[in-house]
Symmetry: D2
Subunit: 399 residues, 4 copies
C-alpha cells in the first residue's frame, strides 16, 4: 500500500474537477454515505472445516464496540454497529448502547439468531412443533424489545429454515407457518421500526430454503405491510444472478430495505465486498445513486456489511470493506446520467456502456483521500490503522 | 425398447394392487391428465450453430396438427396443441381449428412472438420507442382475437426482452413500460381467458432479462389480477434451483398457471422432459398431486411441453415426452400421503424420504400399459409409432 | 418404510428373471460390490452455522468401528472403514485394527488431515514456509506408516489448500510446491500402496483451490506415477458437470482411483448419495459396470462414502447410503449392453436412451432383498436397525 | 464518450510516471501486444431465436479483411485476422492473403468448421461412421493446407462433438476416436505449425461435450506432442471457474496456447471481453504478464477475440474489445511485482490484494491515449471510427 502523496492530490483533484465539474456535492454525498459494520465480524468465525482464531479478538460485546469504533474513527463513515442476539447479549443493553455512544458509535440493526439452538434443528418459525415456533417468536419479540432499549429501528431477520432432503417436510405448510409467525412479529414492531427479511439460495439447508430468493421474501413482506422490506445479501444468490436488476426492481416496488454487503465467487463465501467483482458492486451502486437522484423515490436503505473473515485480520478487513463501498459509491456518483439517458434513448449500446466505464475507470482514490482529509482523518485508513498500535494493544489486553 | 408382455401385465398389476390398494382411481387420474404439445416442436429447430433439417416435417400449421394428432392417437392424453403466432398464422383460424377437431385434437394456448421482428431488437413492450411498444401491443391483442376464434382460453406470454450490456437501458423504466403494456393486454382478455406470464433466467438476453425469475413474473401478475398467472418453464432457472419449491409456493399463492415442460443439464437446453433428472420431475409432480388432493385448493394448471429437438426424430420425441410426464405423474399418485405426513410430523427425515422413494422406485410401466389398453390404444406408443408407417408416409408426401 | 413381503418376493424375482434372464451372476456381483464407510460419518459434524449433536455418537475410534460394523452386519457389503488422522489417532493402531477385525470389519483408506492446524492457515504442502511444508509432509508420511500397520493400501488425500483473495499467493509457485511435496510422499508409498488425490471446486478456499478440478489432480498423478490416481468426490464439481463423463475419461486413462460418494444440489452439500439425482448416480454406475465388463480394462476402484449428516441419524443414514449405491449398481447391471451398443450404432438416440431407462425404471428392491436373504441378513436393513435396539443401547452407554 | 483532452494528457502521464516510474518499457509492451480479430465477428450472427441483420456487413471474405483492417488502422494492435473455413473459403487463398497484406493486415489462425454439415449431426471425429470421420479429417487436413498457403502457423480447433442424451453414444469409444483423429491431423502439421485445441463446457451439446474442460483438452494435447496446446475461450467454463488459475496452470505446463477472448455472465454469451467482469480479465492478464516477466518461461500465446455481436454495431464492438484487452494488459503491467511477492511472503493478504488494486484502479486511459498518439493514430478509436464515415460508406457499397 502506498501513502497518499499530498503534493499530487491537489493536481489530481483539479484534473478530476476539470473533467466532471465541481466536486463539492459529490464529496458531501460520500461523507453522508454510512456503512454499518457487524459486531460478529470482529469475533472469530470460519468455515465448517476450521476456525482460525486470531489473537486480540473481542471477548465481549463491549470490546466489539471498541473495534467498531476504531473502524469508524479511521473511516469516518461507519457510525453504527449491527448486533446479534444472543451472541451480543448483555445484562444491560442500555449500558452497552451508552458505551457505544461514548466511543462515537451507536447500535444499529438487531439480528436475532434462530439457528443455533438444538430445538431449531428442523426449523424455527416453520417448525412442526408449536412449542418451538413459540420459542422462536418469543426470541424475535425479545429482540424487538432490545431494539427499543438501544434505539435501533431495524430488525434484520435471517432464517436458516429449510430442509435437506426431499419429503422432509411439507413445503406449503411451512410457508403458512412462516406467514403466521412473521405476522405476529410484525404486530410487535414499534412505531417507525422496520423489519428486513433476508433470503438465501442455500446453506445451511441443502434441499430447500424456506425463504429461498427475493421473490419469497417479497411476497412475505408484501403481505405484512409497508414496514417489512427485503434485505439483499450479495452472497445469497445463484451464480450469474443480476443483482443490480433485483435491486432496481425492489426499489421500484418500495421494498428495497437494506443490504448485507460482501462478495462471493461460488456460494455464500462472505468475502470482502468488491473483492471478486468490483464492477458488479459499482453497478449495484449505480442503481442506488440513480434512485437517490430520482425525486419520485425516497429510498430508505440500510447499508450493512456482513462478512466473516477467517484469514484476514478482522479490523483491517473491515476498514478495507468500508473503503471498497466508498470506492463504488464515488464511481457511481461520477456517472453522467444525462449522457447515459441520451445514449439509451439513441439505442447506442456502446455509448451507454462507455458512459458507465468513464465513471468506473476513474481513479477515485484522490477524491476519497480528500474527503477524509476534509473530515480530519488520515487519507489512508489501513496504513493509519497499522501505524496506530491498536491491534498490538488489544492483543495484549484481551487474553 | 421391449414390447409389453400381456402375460406378465396381469400379474404385475396384481402385485402392485396388493401393495398400494385398488388402482381404479389412479388409473382414472392418469387418463384425465392431459399434456399439451406445441406446434413448433414438430417443425425444424436447432441451436445457434446449426439446424439439422428432418425430412417429413410439416410444411404448414395444418400438417403440424396432423403430427400432434398422431401423438394424441398414440398416447391418448395429448388432445390439445399450442400454437405460435406468426409461425402458425393462417388466413382462416376457424378452418385450422376445425381441421384440428376433425383430427381429434384442438388448439390450446396461443403463444405470441415478440422476438423475431427487427424492430424488437431492443425490446418489445419495454422498447424505448412508443411505436414499437404499440406494435407489440397490437400483436398481443391480435393473439387474443385469434384465441377467441379458436376457443383457446390461454395466452402464453414469453418475452425475450432484456439487455446484453450494463447501461444499455434503464431497468426501472423498462419495468414500468412492461407494467403498462401488460395492463393494456389484460384489459382485452375475454371472460374466462387467462394470461400466463413466463420468466427466464437468461437467453437471448445475456446481461439482464426483464422478467428474469418467478418473482418478477409474480409481481406483474399480482398487479394485473386473478387471471394473470405465472408460467413455469422447467429450463428457465439458475442451476440448482428448487423448482418444486417454487411450484408449491405459487400454488399456495393461487398464481401457478401452467408449465412448459422440458429438461436441462446446463441452461435452457430444451431436452426431453425427465431425461436429465427424472427424480426432480417426480418431485414437481408430487407437489401437483398434493395440491390436487387438497380440497382447499383448486389448482387450474396447464401442462404444456416446450421442447425443440434438433437431433431426435420429432414425433417420437414428443411421444416419449408425454410418456415421461405420465411416468412421473403415476409415481406421484402412488405416494402414501398419510405415511408421508406421519413421518414429517415425527421428524423422521429418512422415513419421509423413503415414502417418496417407495413411490418413485415403483415400476409404473405395467400400470401405464394397462391404462393405455383400457383406452384402446397400444401399450407401447413409440414402438406402435415406428410400426405405423406414419413417418415414412409424411416423408413421401411432404417435400 | 414397508417390510419386504416374502410371498411377493418370489413372483417378483421370477418376473424379473423372465425379462432379463438368469439373475445369478448379477446377484453375485451385487454381493461382491463393497462400499467403504467413513469413520467420521459416525461422529458429530455439521455446517459452519451449527453442529447438532446426536446422543450416542462414538466417543473414540473404537466405538466408530462398532457403528461401522453395525452397518456392515446389516448390509453385508460394507466391510471396511476409512479412518481420518488425527481424528482417529490412537496409541496403538494394531489394536484398533484388531478390534475392527473382531467386529467383522477392517480399516480401509487412510485420510490425512492437513487443514485443522493453525499453521495450515495459508496452506499445507503449498505453504510459503518450508517449516510448514515439512510438517505437512511428515504428517503424510506418518499416515503411510499407519497404513502399513493397519494393512491399508490406500492413502486418500484431500487438501484444503487454496486462497481466498486475488493476489494472496503466487499460483504457479504453489503448484510447484505441491508437485515437490507430493513427489516426496509418493516415494514413501509401500509396495502395492496407492495414493488417491482428490480435487474440489471450492470450499474452504473461496478464490482458488490448488487442486480445483479433476484435470489438476490428473496432471499431478500423471507426473507421480502409476500408483497415484484421481479420487472423485461427487460433491466437488461445478453445477451441471457431467460426472459420468469424467469417470469414463479417467477409467480410459487408467487414472480412476476411487470415489467419495455423496450427493449435492448446490455445493459440497454432503447429502446422502443418490438423494438428489438418483439417475445421475445410475449413469455413473453405468460407466463403472461397462468398465467392469470390458476385458481390456482392469479398473481397480475404491468405492467410499464421504458424507456428513447433521440432521439424519448417523447409522441409519449410512445404511441408507450403502443401499442407494446398491440400487444404482443393480440397475446398471441390468442394462442390456448389446442392445445399447446396437442402438448407438444405429444412431437411434431414443432407442439408446430407452435401453438405459428400461434398466433404471426396473424395481430392483426385490432383487436386493433376495441378495440379502441369500447372505443371511434381513432384507430391510433400516427397519432391522430400528428394531435392533442398537441405537438405544449405545445412547445409554456413550455419555 | 469523451474526447481525450491533449492538455490534460501530459499532466496525467507525468503524475503516473511519478507514481510508477518511467513508462517507456510499458508503452513498448502495449504497442507490441497484438490482438487477433475474427473474420466471423464482422458478419451477421445471433442467437437461436433471431439474427438481427446489420446493413453494411461484409459480403465476402475480402470485405471482412477490409473491416478487420479498419479495426487495425484505428487501434494499431490488431494486425491479424482469424478465418473460418468454409465460411471464408475462396478460390484463391493466396489472393485473399495478398489482399489482406495490402490492407495492412494478415491472416491469422485457421478455424475449421466441423459442425454445420448434416453429416456431423452425431459427431465429426467422434462419429460412429468411419466415412464421416474421414470427411472430418479431410477437412482438417484441407485447413492445414490453407494455412500453409496463407502462411498461418495456427490451427484453432473447436469441436461441437458431444451428445444430448444419456446413452446416446459410448463415451470411451468417442474419446478413442478423437485421439485417433487428432493424431492423424497432428501428423500433417507443418514445421513450426501449432494446433490449439479448444474445450467447452456445453452447447451445442447439452448432455456431454467430448472435450468438455481444459483437462480433457490437455490430455489430448499431451498425447499429441509439443505443438498441440490448449485454447482457452473465456466463455467456455462453468460459472465460478477461476480462469486465471487454469491459465497459470497451463502456462506452467507449457500447454497454454491461446485465448478466445469474450465475456459471459451466464453461459457462452460471447459478449464484449471485459464487459461483465473487467477485474477477472485483469487477473488473467496479471498471470500473463507474470509469465512474460519470468525468464524461465517462454510463453507463446495467441491472443484472439471470439465474439458474436447481435445488437452492437460490429466494427465498433471489435474496436471496443481490442481496447478492453489493452486496458487490462496496461493495468497488469502496472502491478508492482516485487511488492506483491513481498506481501505474499509476509502472508499479508490485504497488502497483496491492495498491490493488485493499486494497479487495477489506476486510470490507464491517458497511457493508452499516449501510446496511440505515439503510433500516429487517434487516441479515441471509437470516436475516430464514428467520424470516419467508414460505416456509411460500406453501407452504401455493400447491398
Amino acid at each position: 500500500m502506498t501513502r497518499t502523496d499530498p503534493k499530487t492530490l491537489t493536481s489530481a483533484l483539479a484534473a478530476l474537477e476539470q473533467r466532471v465539474g465541481p466536486l463539492d456535492r459529490i464529496k458531501q454525498r460520500i461523507k453522508r454515505h454510512h456503512i454499518e459494520t457487524p459486531s460478529w465480524a470482529y469475533g472469530d468465525s470460519g468455515t465448517r472445516f476450521k476456525v482460525f482464531r486470531q489473537p486480540g479478538v473481542p471477548r465481549n460485546p463491549f470490546e466489539k464496540m471498541e473495534d467498531a469504533a476504531a473502524v469508524h474513527t479511521l473511516t469516518g463513515v461507519a457510525p453504527s454497529v449491527a448486533i446479534h442476539i444472543p451472541w451480543d447479549k448483555v445484562d444491560d443493553f442500555g449500558k452497552l448502547s451508552e458505551y457505544a455512544n461514548q466511543l462515537g458509535v451507536r447500535i444499529g440493526a438487531i439480528n436475532p439468531n434462530l439457528f443455533q439452538d438444538d430445538e431449531y434443528k428442523l426449523g424455527s418459525l416453520t417448525n412442526e412443533s408449536a412449542a418451538v415456533r413459540r420459542k422462536a417468536l418469543d426470541h424475535l419479540i425479545e429482540c424487538i424489545e432490545i431494539g427499543k432499549t438501544v434505539k435501533s429501528d431495524i430488525q434484520s431477520l435471517w432464517f436458516a429454515d429449510g430442509t435437506n432432503f426431499a419429503g422432509q417436510d411439507n413445503l406449503r405448510e411451512r410457508k403458512r407457518r412462516f406467514e403466521q409467525g412473521l405476522s405476529a412479529v410484525y404486530d410487535h414492531l414499534p412505531e417507525g421500526g422496520r423489519m428486513l427479511i433476508e433470503y438465501k439460495f442455500f446453506e445451511p439447508a441443502f434441499y430447500h430454503t424456506d425463504i429461498g430468493d427475493w421473490g419469497m421474501s417479497y411476497v412475505l413482506c408484501q403481505r405484512l405491510g409497508q414496514r417489512a422490506q427485503v434485505l439483499v445479501d450479495l452472497g445469497h444468490h445463484p451464480l450469474g444472478s443480476n443483482i443490480e436488476h433485483i435491486v432496481a426492481f425492489l426499489i421500484d416496488e418500495g421494498k428495497m430495505g437494506g443490504f448485507h454487503f460482501n462478495n462471493k465467487k461460488y456460494a455464500d463465501d462472505d468475502l470482502t465486498v468488491g473483492s471478486i467483482n468490483p464492477f458488479e458492486l459499482f453497478l449495484i451502486y449505480n442503481e442506488l445513486v440513480a434512485a437517490e437522484d430520482d425525486p419520485a423515490l425516497r429510498p430508505n436503505i440500510a447499508y450493512m456489511i456482513d462478512q466473516s473473515h477467517n484469514e484476514k485480520p478482522k479490523i483491517e478487513a473491515m476498514i478495507q470493506s468500508v473503503m471498497n463501498c466508498q470506492t463504488a459509491y464515488a464511481r457511481a456518483l461520477l456517472v453522467d446520467r444525462a449522457a447515459l439517458t441520451q445514449a439509451q434513448q439513441n439505442g447506442d449500446i456502446i455509448g451507454a456502456e462507455e458512459v458507465l466505464q468513464e465513471a468506473y475507470q476513474t481513479d477515485v482514490r484522490p477524491l476519497l483521500a480528500q474527503v477524509r482529509l476534509d473530515m480530519g482523518i488520515d487519507p489512508d485508513p489501513i496504513l493509519a490503522f497499522r501505524a496506530s498500535g491498536y491491534l498490538e494493544k488489544v492483543q495484549k489486553e484481551r487474553k
